[in-house]
Amino acid sequence: MTSDTKPRPGRVSWERLRKGADKLTTPLLPDDYLTLLNPLWSSRELRGRVEEVIPETDDAATLVIRPGWGWRYDHRPGQYVGIGVEIEGKFHWRSYSVSSPPRRSGRNLAITVRAMPEGFLSTHLVNGLEPGTIVRLATPNGDFVLPDPPPARSLFLVGGSGITPVMSMLRTLDRRGTMGDVVLHYSSTTPERMIFRAELEDLHAKHPGLTVHQWFSDEQGIFSLGDLDQTVPDWRERETWACGPAPMLDAVESHWDQAGLEEQLHVERFSLQVGTDGGEGGTITFQNSGRQAEADGATTVLEAGEQAGVGMPYGCRVGICHTCTVTKISGTVRDLRNGDEYDQPNEQVQTCVTVPVGPCTLNI
């Protein structure tokens, strides 16, 4: 009973049977009743069950998640997934890189999370998540991916938990036996905090083509890109992937720019984008209608949408009826009534009483 079995001739597929059964359950879906038996038996929303929480370091853990129906194990190595976790009755969403390699026959999905001091969700994921918890998932996304076939020579520049998408790539190269000539320059504050350290050493032992440079910034200081010429003399000839904290990525980008090699660089900014300080207003992108609107801090999202000619749903226009609610994919909006800010991705917002704070994107 898996959702991705191919229908054989002369046999009604499970998927089709389930779809046909919705005449019995209308206006709900059969999935709404099947989840009474097993919470994963629904493809209405992507779900997963946390099977295991494996501690990697003191402050990082790998979550092994068993996705429910509707999940396709076809993420590209390096992509991230959205994960929605219920805390105090409310779903909070974040995106994390998948650290497991894609596998058509796979049953599980792994993401590795480091608890950030200010990140209340990451702390919850690392320390507070019980195996058996049902989480929501969003489909894999992102352009920070390994091409197939991989380049002959590649370089990965990694800082801290930026290792997770790179790990997915390295595991893929390992599994497919296409490792080639790979250099990983991986910096961490201390050896204890270095996620996947043992596994990387094993990979190196298995694939002589993989060189791992470990850099410990507490002892050695911040790695200077000027030293790259000594560490990786042929870095200019390598396709490069960089993932880590924002200051590191800024430095990498300008270094590659100066060398005129920006074409060879792929960057993943996994840290949260810092919102504009106190400034209100911003550009609203209406994803499905392909329009944009500039709004100042006094123009509601609804008004901005209407001015841009988007068919915004609306009702009472004073925050009572919720007719105007749409999904905000990214960005922050502020509720004019009480100043509350909504900064979660994939959040439902009442457009008639909210104003944008910085750029945001709506699913309409």
Partner: protein
């Protein structure tokens, strides 16, 4: 004229009105801040219970069909009751409240006002317009709020009498029995159609939507499940009809007790002018009636026994209405504002009396509720649609996501 000119409020100063508004706002803020895991667990528990009841009922009818009558009949009766209760729970405590956005704070896409579809003839999208917007914004305003008599009954003395209202007791019984279909036609606005004011494109779109939803509902209860019961198809059909009737009569009863008992006032368009948020609160209190009962009764009526609290805070989680009700009542006492409540039988008794009295011309009966004003008639108040008086571009669809596509 504004709400403050209504007799029941004349003793209040402008400062009083604003103070009441602030106190109500603070109740709202407190409940919003207190919402958490327990509330999420509550609504999930209600939904799970409701789905098990419905599933058990459907399965009960099918598996009992080959049994001997002495086993089959009790199972069938229990299944029918279970299905009726499940439909009541779905429509009242779950569907109505979810579509109000009471649970949107959970950010759960499966329990959300934008995606919920309920087990009744009315498409959710039309309900959200006619109920959440029209009825809750213009509560009891003559000529605006279609809930005054649902375009079928004469529920206000201000509505002009016509001989066909002599049949009102019969229409009332029919409306109770067929309530889900009455509600299904609600957003069509029968009165506007009668007067030829309805946009024909919009009407066609709405009718199509109702037909699609209604067809699925009827097919499920009266074709598919009876067919699955084989030779006993007739019993299953009857059991399903009984469950629907049970839900219809119950939801009719609860809804009619919200705004038609004697204490609930009607308002005129003039009273809406320049209405502030605090004045809107006052109008909700004065236009609405509660009823008393046990916790179970309140859950089975979607907590609409706390109709006043619901009208003050339509998008606050329903399981908190009971706990804030004493505070709202104390506030009303403090400012000497009527807070209408009573046992369910008494409230419905008053509704029934009004229905019968108003089947006759006004001169034969005495008014039981405070009058709206000297010589006010509903005909003076040509229905003005809010969207007609506000700038709105045609491409802006309105209440629905699908409307823009339908028109394109």
């Amino acid at each position: 004229m504004a709400i403050a000119d209504v007799k029941e409020y004349c003793h209040l100063t402008e400062a009083d009105v604003e103070a009441i508004g602030r106190e109500l706002d603070s109740i709202r803020e407190r409940v919003e801040a207190a919402r958490g895991a327990e509330d999420a667990a509550y609504i999930r528990r209600v939904i799970r219970t409701q789905r098990w009841m419905a599933a058990a009922a459907r399965i009960g009818m099918i598996v009992s069909s080959p049994l001997e009558p002495k086993y089959r009949r009790p199972i069938l009766a229990a299944s029918s009751i279970s299905l009726g209760l499940a439909k009541i729970l779905e429509n009242m405590e779950i569907g109505h409240n979810v579509m109000h956005g009471q649970w949107d704070w959970m950010n759960d896409p499966e329990i959300h006002s934008s995606s919920w579809e309920w087990d009744t003839g009315q498409p959710a999208e039309q309900w959200k317009h006619s109920h959440n917007y029209i009825h809750h914004q213009f509560t009891n305003v003559l000529g605006f709020d279609n809930d005054i008599g649902y375009g079928v009954l004469r529920m206000a003395r201000e509505q002009r009498w016509h001989p066909h209202y002599l049949g009102q007791p019969i229409y009332n019984a029919l409306l109770a029995g067929l309530f889900q279909w009455g509600v299904a036609l609600h957003d069509l606005d029968l009165e506007a159609i009668r007067k030829g004011k309805k946009d024909p494109v919009e009407m066609k779109r709405q009718l199509k939507q109702i037909a699609r939803k209604g067809r699925n509902q009827i097919f499920k209860d009266y074709v598919l499940y009876p067919a699955l019961s084989g030779k006993q198809w007739k019993s299953t059909l009857k059991a399903n009809a009984a469950a629907n009737l049970m839900r219809n009569v119950w939801s009719y009863l609860i809804i009619f007790c919200g705004h038609f008992p004697d204490g609930a006032l009607h308002f005129t368009e003039e009273e809406l002018e320049d209405e502030t948020r605090a004045e809107w609160y006052l109008r909700q209190i004065l236009g609405t009636a509660n009823f008393e009962g046990s916790t179970l009764l309140h859950i089975m009526s979607g907590n609409l026994g706390y109709q006043i609290e619901h009208h003050l805070f339509p998008d606050l989680v329903s399981n908190h209405y009971g706990e804030i009700s004493p505070e709202v009542r104390a506030l009303c006492d403090k400012y000497q504002i009527p807070y209408t409540t009573g046992p369910l039988y008494k409230q419905y008794g008053q509704v029934l009396r009004t229905i019968h009295k108003l089947s006759l011309p006004n001169r034969f009966t005495k008014d039981d509720r405070p009058p709206t004003g000297e010589g006010v008639t509903i005909e003076q108040h040509e229905r003005v649609r809010h969207e007609d008086t506000h700038d709105r571009r045609p491409e802006l669809g309105g209440w629905s996501r699908s409307k823009a596509d339908a028109r394109a």
